[in-house]
Structures are given as structure tokens and as C-alpha cells.
């Protein structure tokens, strides 16, 4: 399973949960599967074209997926994903350590 950290503004969709688990094999399928569990989540994270929104940062094990394979980045057992919206335009990498 892959652990996904949910940021405060999206917890309204996850029933307040800050961590959820997924068996998805890529970032893309992770978003789709989370949207199945928590309807509306995809709209917040992705734009109308299905691309990850510019001011939503997704990290796989501390690395920004933009520097990996974007939404096609593969996920493996034990990985940790953080969804971190940019606030004031900048992201909050340190939130990953909380």
C-alpha cells in the first residue's frame, strides 16, 4: 500500500482524515482511485484537462513529481505521497515532515 498525506484544505473531502492509503500504481491512478473514495477530490487537484493544477504540489518520498515522471510517476509498496497546495504561491515542503 502507498500512504497519501492529505493537506488541511482537502480534509473536508476525506472526512477529516490526514492520511489515507491506496493500492494505485501511478500518481494518475492514485488520484482517480482517491476520487472514487472521496468524490470531488480530483477537481481540486486537477484542472479541466486532467492535468495536476500548477499550485498543487505532489511529492513522492520528498521529491516533487515534476522532477520525476509527473502524473505517470510509478508508485511502489511502502511509498509515501504528499499532496501540498501552494499557499501564498509557495509550497510548504516542511509539512511533509510533520
Amino acid at each position: 500500500m502507498v500512504k497519501v498525506r492529505i493537506p488541511t484544505p482537502l480534509r473536508i473531502l476525506t472526512g477529516g482524515k490526514s492520511d489515507v492509503e491506496t493500492a494505485a500504481s501511478t500518481i494518475q491512478t492514485m488520484i482517480d482511485s482517491l476520487n472514487g473514495q472521496f468524490p470531488g477530490l480530483k477537481d481540486r487537484v486537477c484542472d479541466e484537462q486532467g492535468e495536476i493544477r500548477r499550485f498543487v504540489n505532489i511529492y513522492l518520498n520528498e521529491e516533487d513529481i515534476r522532477f520525476l515522471q509527473g502524473k505517470d510517476t510509478p508508485l511502489r509498496e511502502g511509498d509515501e505521497v504528499s499532496i501540498v497546495p501552494a499557499i501564498a504561491g509557495g509550497d510548504h515542503p516542511d509539512e511533509r515532515h510533520r
Partner: protein
């Protein structure tokens, strides 16, 4: 000003998804997390704004009131802006540029940096929105300006700064008696903490919840350059980058003037300058990416030491749209830039100015800026605030006893006939 118009601002709008909001204290789109910016009614503005109307305005940035996001009369920072644009012949000679100008915000009123512009706008707007407590996250200059303006405006003030700032920038807060909070961390840590505090306190954080209004103040640097060049835009503007907001807003200001017909043509290239020890935006630009990797800053240019630049994406976009370049300089080149500007033009800039001059020099050398082209370097802060950076590089005074012989000996002078 008796001719204030309240119809110029429609509200706020998300730069990413276009969602509209009323003109309140809000900076992030609740849908897509994109940054909000002011949505102007340009049709209404165009119907009344002329060069003559601006020229008849006050001798401050408020002559551009029509393009600034306040609804009533300005109430804070009435004397900010309209700093000198200096023809830099000596420096131009050194760099091989025949039409070089320095926009000298080292003498901005009252705290000697371009931040007096953004704070004048931010605090006026904060008051309009009903706030009586102001705050900011700052690398120094912004805190100084917020503290000074808050004192004059009789507003309560909290400034949050990294723990390792230059002594003058710390003192330049304390003297106004705000609450000065030093954070054990770098600016990015300060900024993150301030975002959290802003979420729970009803304070006007000028660069957090007031940011859409605050950032607009930077446009006035572009407006002034154009007006001071006789209503023409230069071929090049070299701009220091921290969050990337200044470069973004310079480009916006130029385009507004062009769209509104105040500027006949616009071919300006806006170039970004960063210190090598903190260059997330310039690095992304060089690698041809439109996203950047946050860094941990290590540079003497502390005012530019933002590792996770809020407007980095938009700065990359603006530079690309204008055909501008980006480059970096080492700490050593920053000091050289400061002393070169001082010794050629008599202007003592802070470290950010050293970054700008260093990058200007590189762009001229590389032929990106050509000899005959009109070029403006934005010098945004005063060297007296970052003395630590140059202390080792400026020598010491020579001490002698108060005797004529000692003086003559010192300079190898004989007795001169008068």
C-alpha cells in the same frame, strides 16, 4: 486627490482558474489554490487616464492612483516612490553601454528600499478593509517599511524575520517599536509560519492575505521608468529576483501602460538577476523549465534569499514573454557590483543591487544587451543596511596625528606654493 474613482477595481480573480472573488483580504483561490490578483476595470480606467492626468498628480507613486488597488484616497505612505532615474554615464562607460540608467530606489521614502512602494499600497488597503493590526514575513526591507509606516499610521505591528539578518535591518525595525519576532530558520520558514498565523489571526499580513494589493505597488517602478524616459519604454530592464514578484509586476506595469495607450510601443526585455547561492528561478530559466526546484539559500544577498519563490512561475513566464534572460552572480561578484556602482555613480546599494549590477555586467558582456540600447537597472535597496557584506572590501581610513608634516608625509607632498 479629488478625482478618486471607485469603479476601477472589480474584485479579485484567480490567476489560474479565473474564479472571481470580491475585493477582500484573500490571496489563494479556494478551488485550485492559485494566487489571486486584482481584477481592474480597464475600460473605465482607459476612459479617463492620460499622460497629462498622471503628470498633474502628486510627486509620489500616488500619481498612478488610477492603476493602484485602493478604493478611496491614499492614507499611508503618501511620499513613497518617484525616485530618481539617473543617467549612469560612468558605469555605462565601464560596461560598454551608451544609454544606461539607474532607477535609484536606495533613496525611497521613508525606509530606503522599493518596499516603501508596496507597503504604501498595502497599508492603505488594509485600512480600507478595516484592519488595525499589520504584519509581514520579511527578509528585512519589507519589515523596515511596514514598521515605519505602521508607526506613522498608528497601527499595531508585528514583523517576522529570519534570525540571521544584517544588524541595520534588525535595528531598522526595533527603532519604530513594532513587535519584532526572529524566527529560528530561513525566510521560507518565516513565510510558512506567517501563512499559518494569518489563518488564525485577524491581521493584515501585507505579503500573505493582503498580497494581491501589496504586490501591485511594485508596478509603479515600471510606470516611473517609462514616464522618466519621456513616455518611452527602455530596451532592457534588469531586475533582482527574490519571490519573483517584482519582475512579474514590472512586466505587468509596462503592459498596462501599453494597453492603455500611455506607451506607444513596447519591446522591452525584462531580465532577472539572482545570487548563485539562491537561484531557483534563474536555474529553471536556464534549463528551459517553467517550474523550479526550491533550494536552501546560501548567499550574502539576504534580501533575495527566498528558496521557494512565490511568484517564480510567473517570473519565468514574464521573462520568457518579453524575450528576457536570467543570470546569477557569486557572492564575490555581488561585492564587486556594489563597489563598482558606488565608485562610478556614487550610489551605495545593498547586496541585491550588487546582484543586479553583476548580472547587468554579464548580460552586456554576452552581447544580450548591446551598446546602443537603452537599459535600466533597478537598484532596490540601500547599502547602509547591508554594511557587513562590503566591510572587508572597502579598506580603512588612514589615521595620522593632527600635524601638517604627517599629512604631507602621508601623501608624499612637498611644500606647495599657493
Amino acid at each position: 486627490m479629488s478625482h478618486t474613482h471607485t469603479d476601477k477595481m472589480k474584485g479579485l480573480i484567480c490567476r489560474e482558474c479565473g474564479k472571481a472573488y470580491p475585493p477582500v483580504s484573500l490571496h489563494v483561490c479556494e478551488m485550485c489554490f492559485g494566487p489571486l490578483e486584482v481584477h481592474y476595470n480597464y475600460e473605465a480606467i482607459k476612459s479617463r487616464l492620460t499622460r497629462a492626468r498622471i503628470e498633474a498628480g502628486p510627486k509620489s507613486l500616488w500619481r498612478y492612483h488610477d492603476l493602484l488597488p485602493i478604493q478611496g484616497e491614499p492614507t499611508v505612505g503618501l511620499h513613497a516612490g518617484l525616485t530618481p532615474l539617473i543617467r549612469a554615464k560612468n558605469l555605462g562607460h565601464e560596461l560598454g553601454l551608451d544609454h544606461l540608467y539607474i532607477k535609484n530606489d536606495t533613496v525611497n521614502h521613508p525606509t530606503l528600499s522599493f518596499k516603501d512602494r508596496v507597503v504604501a499600497v498595502a497599508l492603505t488597503r488594509a485600512r480600507e478593509l478595516g484592519y488595525d493590526i499589520v504584519a509581514c514575513a520579511s527578509t528585512g526591507n519589507l519589515a523596515n517599511s511596514v514598521a515605519a509606516h505602521a508607526a506613522a499610521a498608528k497601527m499595531q505591528c508585528y514583523v517576522f524575520i529570519p534570525h540571521d539578518l544584517e544588524a541595520s535591518k534588525v535595528l531598522g525595525n526595533l527603532v519604530y517599536r513594532p513587535n519584532v519576532v526572529e524566527i529560528e530558520g530561513n525566510y521560507d520558514d518565516v513565510n510558512r509560519l506567517c501563512s499559518e498565523i494569518a489563518g488564525e489571526r485577524k491581521w493584515a499580513f501585507v505579503n500573505v492575505n493582503i498580497r494581491p494589493y501589496y504586490a501591485e505597488g511594485s508596478k509603479t517602478l515600471a510606470y516611473e521608468v517609462v514616464e522618466q524616459l519621456g513616455w518611452t519604454a527602455p530596451d532592457h530592464i534588469v531586475i533582482p529576483m527574490a519571490s519573483g514578484s517584482l519582475l512579474t509586476k514590472i512586466w505587468k506595469g509596462l503592459n498596462e501602460f501599453h494597453t492603455l495607450g500611455l506607451l506607444d510601443s513596447l519591446t522591452t526585455k525584462v531580465h532577472g538577476a539572482q545570487a548563485e547561492g539562491c537561484s531557483p528561478i534563474a536555474t529553471a530559466h536556464k534549463q528551459g523549465r517553467d517550474f523550479f526546484k526550491p533550494v536552501k539559500p546560501h548567499t550574502i544577498a539576504k534580501s533575495l534569499a527566498i528558496g521557494n519563490p512565490a511568484d517564480g512561475y510567473y517570473a519565468l513566464k514574464a521573462a520568457a514573454a518579453s524575450g528576457g534572460a536570467m543570470d546569477t552572480v557569486t557572492d564575490e561578484e555581488i561585492v564587486e557590483g556594489i563597489t563598482l556602482l558606488a565608485q562610478t555613480e556614487g550610489i551605495f546599494a545593498e547586496t541585491a543591487g550588487g546582484v543586479t549590477i553583476g548580472v547587468l555586467k554579464k548580460l552586456a558582456k554576452q552581447g544580450i544587451i548591446k551598446r546602443h540600447q537603452t537599459t535600466v537597472a533597478l537598484i532596490t535597496g540601500n547599502g547602509l543596511k547591508t554594511q557587513e557584506a562590503v566591510m572587508h572590501a572597502v579598506g580603512k581610513p588612514t589615521r595620522i596625528p593632527p600635524s601638517l608634516a604627517a599629512f604631507q608625509q602621508l601623501f608624499h607632498l612637498g611644500t606647495e606654493e599657493r
